[in-house]
């Protein structure tokens, strides 16, 4: 058991951090925040060239088959940098499609597209609140949604949409090509520096070749979304870490009453809580990612990662806003980028109500009387437990 990243990943992290610090420094992040498009084509090309957009695509579809944990390391640094881009939504969609590729030629085709630098993003990829509705047709499915705010949908080549068949309380996952005659995407600003596309689907017809999965129940969708949830944890841990670091630096340097603000007990208490939230979420996130890489059960810990990372970031942002005070409130002060990103990304995963219900749905059936050597999957001391098989 080793609960720290290895040297290869540490190098990857440091490299990503260097690239982002140089190519997307806070000054540039602030500029983009005020820019109507909010998109840095140069940094995007850099990310593509570094392989960040294709690293998690399986090799058989033209990608690098990198470990999900490695992609998580990159996303954590992206979160830390505050750079808004389609990278995280693309990563989430890649993870979901990779889950489906074995059984869906549409997913395999989409992954090849990603490997060829097509941009695929998905519905608030972690939300099954059913804001998109599907129905069966003679030719497949039809999907309707009045207004879905999907990050960077207006820059996407394809959308992955989780839709609910209301009458049957089951879910379908479909692919929608951009453009489509029955699809409207209107770019919009959001709480943070990501840009969203307000997606309207007017009974978009989805043929069998575009149905990624159908007839899923809620738990099936949870399993499908699990790797994306774990990746979202990494992004949000990056936010929480940056907020903590910025705040600590501020508190060390800002003096009032002849001493650093960081000596104030109340400031210390608040920073301690930020740190604990961040550390706990980071452990859950990398536990989830490493399990996905091992191919063992990870639904529970992935939901925990997404939720706790969101909580860590959002609560840190509230506490930190207090500590930065009026300075942190100013548009040209970088902290406000992370204040907004932390909350926005927390709820992009779905409402808190939805996240907590997902936790209940996934975790509560597994909570047992007695010791819990495994959070996910059966007790490892059961015969034939995959955890026994997976033990090193």
């Amino acid at each position: 058991m080793r609960l720290s990243i290895d040297s290869d990943e540490a190098l990857m992290r440091d490299t990503a951090n260097d690239v982002l610090r140089t190519a997307a420094p806070l000054r540039r992040v602030l500029e983009l925040d005020s820019d109507p498009e909010g998109f840095d084509a140069g940094m995007w090309r850099r990310a593509v060239a570094l392989g960040w957009t294709t690293m998690a695509v399986p090799e058989e579809f033209g990608g690098a088959s990198s470990r999900l944990e490695s992609l998580g390391v990159i996303l954590e640094e992206v979160g830390y940098s505050g750079w808004g881009s389609p990278l995280a939504p693309l990563a989430f969609a890649t993870a979901v499609l990779s889950r489906l590729a074995a059984t869906s030629t549409a997913a395999a085709h989409a992954l090849r597209g990603i490997a060829s630098n097509r941009v695929v993003v998905g519905t608030a990829p972690l939300d099954i609140d059913g804001r998109a509705a599907s129905r069966s047709t003679t030719a497949g499915l039809a999907v309707t949604a009045v207004s879905l705010p999907i990050p960077w949908a207006h820059r996407a080549d394809q959308l992955v949409v989780v839709a609910r068949r209301a009458d049957e309380n089951i879910y379908d996952v479909v692919q929608v090509d951009v453009p489509d005659p029955h699809l409207t995407i209107i770019p919009a600003h959001s709480l943070d520096n990501e840009r969203v596309g307000i997606v309207r689907l007017d009974d978009v017809q989805v043929g069998p070749d575009k149905v990624l999965a159908s007839g899923l129940d809620a738990r099936d969708v949870d399993s499908l979304l699990a790797p994306a949830r774990a990746l979202s944890g990494a992004l949000q841990v990056g936010h929480a870490r940056r907020i903590l670091d910025m705040t600590a630096e501020h508190l060390r340097n800002r003096e009032q009453f002849g001493r650093a603000l960081g000596t104030l007990p109340t400031a210390q208490q608040a920073c301690a809580d930020m740190a604990i939230g961040c550390e706990g979420a980071r452990l859950a996130t990398y536990d989830a990612l490493s399990r996905h890489d091992l191919g063992v059960a990870a639904d529970s810990i992935s939901a925990v990662a997404a939720y706790t990372a969101g909580q860590a970031g959002a609560s840190a942002s509230i506490a930190a806003a207090q500590l930065h005070g009026a300075l942190g409130f100013m548009r040209d002060y970088p902290f406000q980028i992370f204040f907004r990103r932390a909350k926005a990304w927390q709820i992009r995963l779905g409402s808190l109500r939805g996240q907590r219900l997902a936790l209940a749905r996934i975790l509560l059936p597994t909570v047992r009387i007695g010791s819990n050597l495994a959070l996910d999957g059966p007790d490892p001391l059961d015969n034939n437990s995959p955890l026994m098989a997976g033990a090193t």
Binding site: M1, R2, L3, S4, D6, L244, A248, L251, R252, A260, G262, T263, P265, A267, Q268, Q269, C271, A272, D273, M274, A275, I276, E279, G280, A281, L283, A284, Y286, D287, S290, L294, V296, I301, A303, V304, Y307, T308, R353, R356, L357, A358, L359, A360, R361, L363, L364, V367, R368, I369, G370, S371, N372, L373, L375, P380, L381, L387, M388, A391, T392
Partner: protein, 396 residues
């Protein structure tokens, strides 16, 4: 990262489970009829169990083999604590996991020979004598005095919140051996038999019907050979023991959550488990328990790796103690008036466990180093904020 169990660890867990399954612990459970979260000392049956486990070679899992232990890793110590606590069985607590290891590290060879074997056998049990009526968080201001008279220290003073003093055999005693103004530089630690003349123990009953104690020392003579470390060097001895104490694994509270969920799902509860607010609250608690588990495992894994995230023990303690209170508060909030029924009331759900656990819920937050000070440690050691100046003289 690698969060997977090794075959060795799983084999250890399997052996432990098989051993515990072979025991009849009904008398222990009858003594500890309230939930896993309660920091409750073992009663007579619990102490018999510990001695039985010691005789069977199952105590001192993490102790070095040279001192009679099993030489197991910290992660395996976590497995042991998780298994024992989930079955509501005592673990040997501070004596086994903090006092013993401190004596191993800092004691004289004579002290090791005298104390380690009976600790491992479950025969010597220590209560911790730190706090005083005027010295709690500010332990360095303690005033219980030990004055050298020939080959003995003569101890006079008063300790409070000395949990377990009524059944322990010894007290790990922090005393002042130099000027009060020297604060932490004038403190020593003595190993004191509780049967020494001049010691009296008075019960203090907590709001959760637990017992702690006040211990009075009147001209208590303690042989000099029971000084741990150097005279006036006790602050670092205390620090070493605190390190071990804070590294003690926290077992998860899944059992408490499961009982709450099952009760909510039962017809008798009147709780609508399908209600989003109820399910969401329970789901969030499950997530928080997962985090507590990971923080505790991280501590254990790092001990085995020989590395330490600064203030990791403080983080774990804060999270676990506050989660406990959230869990037990949620049980009351969700359960409604029925769960307020007292622990001895026939109509109380699950024997009144919820109300009892709620009453005990504040304790872990101020005990074992109050959370405010723990947060200060996280802020200064982990986050890197400057220390708050308190009284500069005499403290390290």
């Amino acid at each position: 990262m690698d969060f997977q169990w090794t075959q060795d660890q799983l084999a250890f867990a399997a052996d432990l489970r098989a051993y515990l399954d072979s025991l009849d612990v009904s008398d222990v459970l009858a003594e500890r009829r309230i939930g896993t979260a309660e920091v409750s000392e073992p009663g007579a049956a619990g102490q018999r169990l510990l001695k039985r486990m010691a005789a069977d070679g199952w105590l001192g899992v993490g102790w070095p083999v040279e001192y009679g232990g099993k030489g197991r890793s910290a992660v395996e110590q976590w497995i042991f604590t998780e298994e024992m606590t989930s079955r509501r069985l005592p673990t040997g607590g501070l004596t086994l996991m903090a006092v013993g290891p401190t004596i191993m590290r800092l004691g004289t060879e004579e002290q090791k020979r005298e104390f380690l074997p009976p600790i491992l056998a479950g025969e010597t049990v220590f209560a911790i004598g730190y706090s005083e009526p005027s010295a709690g968080t500010d332990l360095a201001s303690l005033t219980t005095r030990a004055v050298l008279d020939g080959d003995d220290y003569v101890v006079n003073g008063r300790k409070i919140w000395t949990t377990g003093a009524h059944y322990a055999t010894h007290i790990w005693l922090a005393v002042r051996t130099g000027p009060v103004a020297e604060r932490s530089r004038a403190i020593s630690v003595l190993l004191v038999s509780l049967s020494t003349p001049g010691i009296s123990v008075r019960p203090l009953i907590t709001q959760s019907d637990g017992r702690t104690n006040e211990v009075l020392f009147e001209d208590v003579r303690v042989p000099r050979r029971y000084l741990v470390g150097a005279e006036n060097g006790g602050w670092s001895v205390i620090g070493t023991m605190l390190d071990f104490e804070r590294s003690m694994p926290y077992a998860s509270t899944w059992t408490d959550l499961r009982r709450l969920v099952d009760w909510c799902a039962s017809d008798e509860s009147g709780v609508v488990l399908d209600e989003a607010e109820v399910r969401g609250t329970l789901g969030a608690l499950a997530a928080d328990i997962s985090i507590a588990r990971l923080l505790a495992l991280r501590m254990a894994a790092e001990i085995d790796e020989g590395r330490r995230t600064p203030a990791a023990a403080s983080m774990t303690k804060i999270w676990y103690s506050e989660l406990q209170q959230r869990l037990h508060t949620s049980a009351i909030d969700i359960g409604g008036p029925d769960v307020l029924l007292g622990v001895d009331e026939p109509a109380a759900p699950l024997g009144g466990v919820f109300e009892r656990l709620y009453r005990s819920s504040p304790m872990l937050k101020f005990g074992a180093g109050t959370n405010e000070i723990q947060r200060e440690l996280v802020a200064t050691q982990f986050v890197g904020l400057p220390r708050t100046a308190r009284r500069a003289s005499g403290d390290r």
